[in-house]
């Protein structure tokens, strides 16, 4: 093939990847090509292979695989011949269930309609027999995709993995095993026999995006196409990312996490405010969406507490300060609260013990406090040791925004000595 033609093919592929995957960097192109060649070898030449795609959550592993499969199935020969089996570690929690699912998806002869006949041992023997009878030149190749691959390594004896990898290394029906996982140490989970049969091919999807590339990507995602009817509107829309405050917001998100799933959530919540009455996105919308995304969950919960519960939380905070994080019980908290009432309070008054107990229980239900150990039967409720699950910054932040908080409570919270 001439060099010019390969270059043209490469650029075509580049554009295709950009269209389906969203963007294309040299790394992504390399991985795409590697995976595509591997699956082509299985589908067309009948060679068995196994590969693992590893990357953090939201890195685009499943998207890459889908993109490759879509490209691969464009070829007629592959489309007619390739059999696919898709398994997920979260759905098939056991080898028994996984085998039934494989048999059902391959539509072997012990399946009638949707029901698979036979016990676990029979299903395994049947599947292994079926694969053993095949050979590379005359059987249809089978592609096994195992999502959440690391969960399959927790099954008993790793039977399924051993058998799949064993078939991929024997002269039987050609199969390709593609595992997708987010754990970097997945190979340590495999038993030595299974590890020996795995071909150790790994594709690591680790993105080394700079902020400029990230910004460019967001801009590309948000921009309207050139053939949009209202050109002025499109122009206004497309210049959103030039705005300084927008850049700051995106910088904040980029600092927190580089993956695109989180930025999609942000953009989605921002886009969902677009309506007929308010057709354009303003930077302030993005700021608002960002604020919602980055809001502290527990601090929000504190806004819904009653003033007594809030006082109990502040008392716990003071106890943590004094005793440096040692666990406390209701009596200690109540005593601390009573000290505040005696010395400083004007607006609060002394509640009865059962009321305080009820408030304490409510806090426990909300999981703002947590018992130190699980044994709740041995000690009396009031003397059970607890720990606070909130950080001081969260309490202070919540107090700023608490509606109609009495000033003496606020001052009590901010004082260093309780």
């Amino acid at each position: 093939m001439s060099k010019r033609k390969t270059e043209n093919l490469n650029t075509d592929l580049f554009l295709q990847i950009e269209e389906h995957y969203g963007y294309c960097s040299p790394n992504i192109f390399f991985f795409f090509r590697h995976l595509l060649e591997l699956l082509k070898q299985t589908a067309i030449h009948g060679e068995s292979n196994s590969v693992l795609i590893i990357g953090p959550r939201g890195a685009g592993k499943t998207t890459l695989l889908k993109c490759v499969l879509r490209h691969l199935l464009e070829e007629k020969e592959v489309q007619k011949n390739l059999l696919q089996v898709h398994l997920n570690g979260l759905l098939q929690t056991d080898d028994r269930i996984a085998l039934k699912e494989i048999t059902r998806q391959l539509n072997l002869e012990n399946v009638v309609g949707d029901k698979v006949f036979g016990s676990f041992a029979e299903n395994l023997a049947f599947l292994l027999e079926a694969l053993k009878k095949g050979d590379r030149s005359s059987s249809r190749p089978v592609l096994f995709v195992l999502d959440e691959f690391d969960l399959f390594a927790h099954h008993k004896n790793q039977t399924l993995l051993y058998n799949l990898f064993d078939v991929s290394q024997s002269a039987q029906a050609p199969i390709a095993v593609v595992g997708v996982t987010c754990r970097l140490d997945v190979l340590e989970l495999l038993e030595k026999r299974v590890k020996s049969r795995f071909s150790h091919r790994q594709i690591h999807l680790l993105s080394s995006l700079t902020f400029a590339q990230y910004l460019e990507r967001v801009r590309a995602q948000l921009s309207l196409l050139d053939d949009f009817p209202e050109t002025k509107f499109a122009q206004n829309w497309n210049t959103l990312c030039e705005d300084k405050s927008v850049k700051e917001v995106l910088q904040r998100h980029y600092n927190s996490s580089k993956d695109f799933r989180s930025v999609h959530m942000l953009l989605m919540s921002c886009l969902s405010r677009v309506s007929v009455a308010k057709p354009a996105i303003k930077p302030v919308d993005l700021l608002e969406a960002s604020r919602l995304c980055l809001a502290d969950a527990k601090a929000n919960m504190l806004h819904g507490l009653s003033i007594l519960e809030l006082c109990l939380i502040i008392a716990m905070k003071h106890l943590n300060d004094i005793y440096e994080g040692e666990p406390f019980n209701l009596q200690m908290v109540h005593n601390e609260f009573k000290k505040f009432l005696q010395r400083k309070s004007n607006s609060m008054y002394n509640f009865d013990q059962p009321v305080v107990m009820k408030a304490f229980e409510h806090l426990q239900q909300l999981e703002l406090i947590r018992p130190v150990d699980g044994s709740s039967a041995k000690t009396q409720r009031e003397y059970q040791l607890m720990r606070l699950m909130l950080d001081h910054s969260q309490i202070m932040e919540a107090l700023q925004k608490y509606p109609q908080c009495p000033t003496d409570v606020q001052q009590w919270a901010m004082s260093a000595f309780g």
Binding site: L83, L108, S138, K192, R201, S257, E367, D391
Partner: protein, 560 residues
Amino acid sequence: MKYFTRVRRVYRWRGEPVSFNRKLKTYDYSSLVIGVDGLPRTTLIITGQHILIEGEDEDSPYVAKVLRLFGDESGKQKKAAVQWFVRVSEVPPNKLKLLGREPHPQEIFYYQGRSCDDEVDVESILRPVQVRRARSGIPSTVSAHPVVILDWFLFKQVTSSTPRTPRHATPSIPSRSLPARQPGNVLEEARIRLHVSSVPESLPCREQEFQDIYSFVESKIIDGTGGCMYISGVPGTGKTATVHEVMRCLQHAADVDEIPPFTFIEINGMKMTDPHQAYVQILQKLTGHKATADHAASLLEKRFSNPAPRKESTVLLVDELDLLWTRKQNVMYNLFDWPTRRHARLVVLTIANTMDLPERIMINRVASRLGLTRMSFQPYSFKQLQQIIMSRLNKVKAFEEDALQLVSRKVAALSGDARRCLDICRRATEICEHSAAERSATGLVGMSHVMEALNEMFSSSYITAVKCASVHEQLFLRAVIAEFRRLGLEEATFQQVFVQHQALCRVEGLQPIGVSEGLAVCQRLGACRLLLLEPSRLGVLQRVRLNVSQDDVLYALKAD
């Protein structure tokens, strides 16, 4: 014509026999001549022809297709193996309805039931018959001669549309529409040969082990006694492949009558769901019967205890022996006890990974029955790995010398696993094929390709992962190290680390993040296993540990 059926028919073989079946002592013939007493005219039947076979009803004899014609040495017994067909009248009406259309009265179907013999005496053959294949739909004309229309509608398929338990399910993967493509160039050819599954006829570097196992099994077969052998070695050292090679050679020797005939069966501990399934599988492979585990155990017990005339030796290969362990160890006990029976004639070869398996997991009586015939397969040295690759490639010159050496040395230093070596070489040929830009002068796989393959397949990606982490993730790792240094421990709670994280944010000039965001950063690091975390329901109180060494993290962070 009815009165002809009272005439005596004479059957004779035509021509010389085409082959001799040594086991059954029968001769195969290509054609048969049927003559009638007193009449010169004869009818010729050849294999592949459709025939009519005498049945109960004289007007509608059975239709069949001749697959084989054979007879014994004396010539008295003449038989034919046939494929039966059923007529429309023989199909039960409820099954006929499933056909979906009106069947032609002279239509026949393939019969794949197992309830009748496939072999018949040739004396029951009447005459040949013409069978025409029908296109879908009703055939238009039917001639008066004995012609029946064959519909390629498999009888079995007619019944499968009713949801019935498939009792005759045959395991198979469907066949492809076009055959697989053959290799084009040298590199592709090399790649096929380097695939782990293309095991060569004789394994290099395992000659001594081959000889030992061969002589052991051969002596047992010739003497007609039983015995046990335990083979151990790390994965990828050629244990199963060597045993298969031994059995192939022994089978060949049995075929040419050098040694008595024997049966070879193989079970694998990993391919079973439960150790007791071993009995089921052994019984099925020996006799073809299916039974439950307990019943199979008792049947095998009877078989190996009772003397039987003309009994063949059995060689049983048990792969992955350690998975057959049970609390009471009765599966292993039986497997090693049966060869000790006088009339069992059972030779058991077991394969496992550890040398001291018998001492470690077996109770005394089981270990003593296993015996002391042990063989240990050592991991391959780099010279042996080189020899293995060279012999696989045979005359195909695809690798440079020093590239091969590098791969062999690297793999030998680490594990001595032949599979690993072959996979890396295969990946190197792939890289060479696809790196059009850096095609080396000779077109062979060079050092650069091999180095790239080694980097890919031996890499630990923790450092790259830390380098590619986001700003706050890297800061969090720094905070973890700082907190560990402060506490002098290898463990800290999220709350403590978060305090450090806030301090680092201030130092770096970044906007400080909230607790929820910090927890999210921590969870992401935990999902990749850069950090080891307690369950997230503990919130800020969860303890954090590093899964990477501190030096690695600092090195990765320093390079920025």
